[in-house]
């Protein structure tokens, strides 16, 4: 082998790398090895991402159907009142519809707001308080709404 290597760069630090003199192996900094913990955070963010899309598809039907019933069909908002709600919740189909809509919309919206808080609230304390408030309001709303559907009494008076 002559002293001239066919490289455009020329010799680096005096070493001419080739099949006989391979460059040193550099390990990628974040390579998973036997000593890396199995998982550091789990797949929560991935599950949340997927949930936003799956719940979104279902919510299109539930929420737009709900708006059609409440605001467009049969006289629009003017017909709404206690008697109207009693009539609707006499049917288990609409009870299940409202229950599913309540849970999916609240969880979808709460997860969306979690993303928004993560994006804009930078101080750890602010994040903690905002998320605490968000989770409290979410749990409270889901429980209240569920209770109302299951304990509705048409003969309350």
């Amino acid at each position: 082998m002559s002293a001239e290597t066919p490289s455009a760069i020329g010799a680096v630090e005096g070493a001419a790398y080739g099949p006989d003199n391979p460059a040193p192996y550099i390990e990628p900094p974040r390579k998973r090895t036997g000593r890396t913990p199995r998982s550091t955070r789990g797949n929560f963010e991935m599950a949340a991402w997927l949930f936003m899309r799956l719940s979104g598809v279902v919510l299109v039907v539930l929420v737009i159907g709900h708006l059609l019933i409440q605001l467009v069909l049969d006289g629009g908002v003017s017909k709404i009142g206690f008697a109207f709600v009693a009539g609707r919740w006499a049917n288990p189909f609409w009870q299940v519809w409202d229950l599913l809509m309540l849970w999916l919309a609240m969880l979808h919206g709460a997860n969306g707001l979690r993303t928004v808080i993560n994006d804009y609230a930078e101080r750890p304390n602010t994040r903690l308080w905002l998320k605490g408030l968000l989770y409290t309001a979410t749990v409270f709303t889901i429980l209240l709404g569920t209770l109302v559907i299951f304990t509705f009494d048409p003969n309350i008076r």
Binding site: V72, S78, G81, F82, L113, V148, D153
Partner: protein
């Protein structure tokens, strides 16, 4: 600058901002909405009294705004899903956004009479 505002785009950025704003608005509405619906557990009178405010002309306008927000969030949400899961989604994202806006305009025009009609009758007589 907050981390969330570093995204600089064109139509893609504005649709993302609008998706975020409408999503947050709908969430706040839903919170209040579950509270007002819970009044059916208090008394029929309490419920009917609060629902009466839903029937006033000014609130009718707010309802029209809510419909606008939901229709945009729903249609654009489907577009986001198509961008993520359809192999040609990213290539057609801009065309899909204009399709979303087209459908949105048509649906909003169709919602004028059902949502605002009763308010107009109340304001201008039938």
């Amino acid at each position: 600058m907050p981390a969330g505002t570093l995204y600089r785009g064109r139509e893609g950025m504005w649709s993302w901002v609008a998706h975020r704003v409408t999503g947050v608005l709908i969430f706040f509405f839903l919170f209040v909405h579950v509270l007002d619906t819970a009044l059916v557990r208090v008394s029929p009178e309490a419920y009917d009294e609060v629902v009466a405010t839903y029937k006033t002309p000014i609130v009718a306008l707010l309802e029209y705004g809510l419909v606008a927000a939901i229709l945009f969030h729903a249609l654009n949400g489907l577009r986001v899903i198509a961008v993520d899961f359809w192999s040609k989604g990213p290539r057609y994202q801009k065309q899909m956004l204009w399709t979303v806006m087209g459908i949105w305009v048509v649906l909003m025009a169709g919602a004028v009479y059902p949502v605002l009609g009763h308010a107009a009758r109340e304001l201008f007589g039938s």
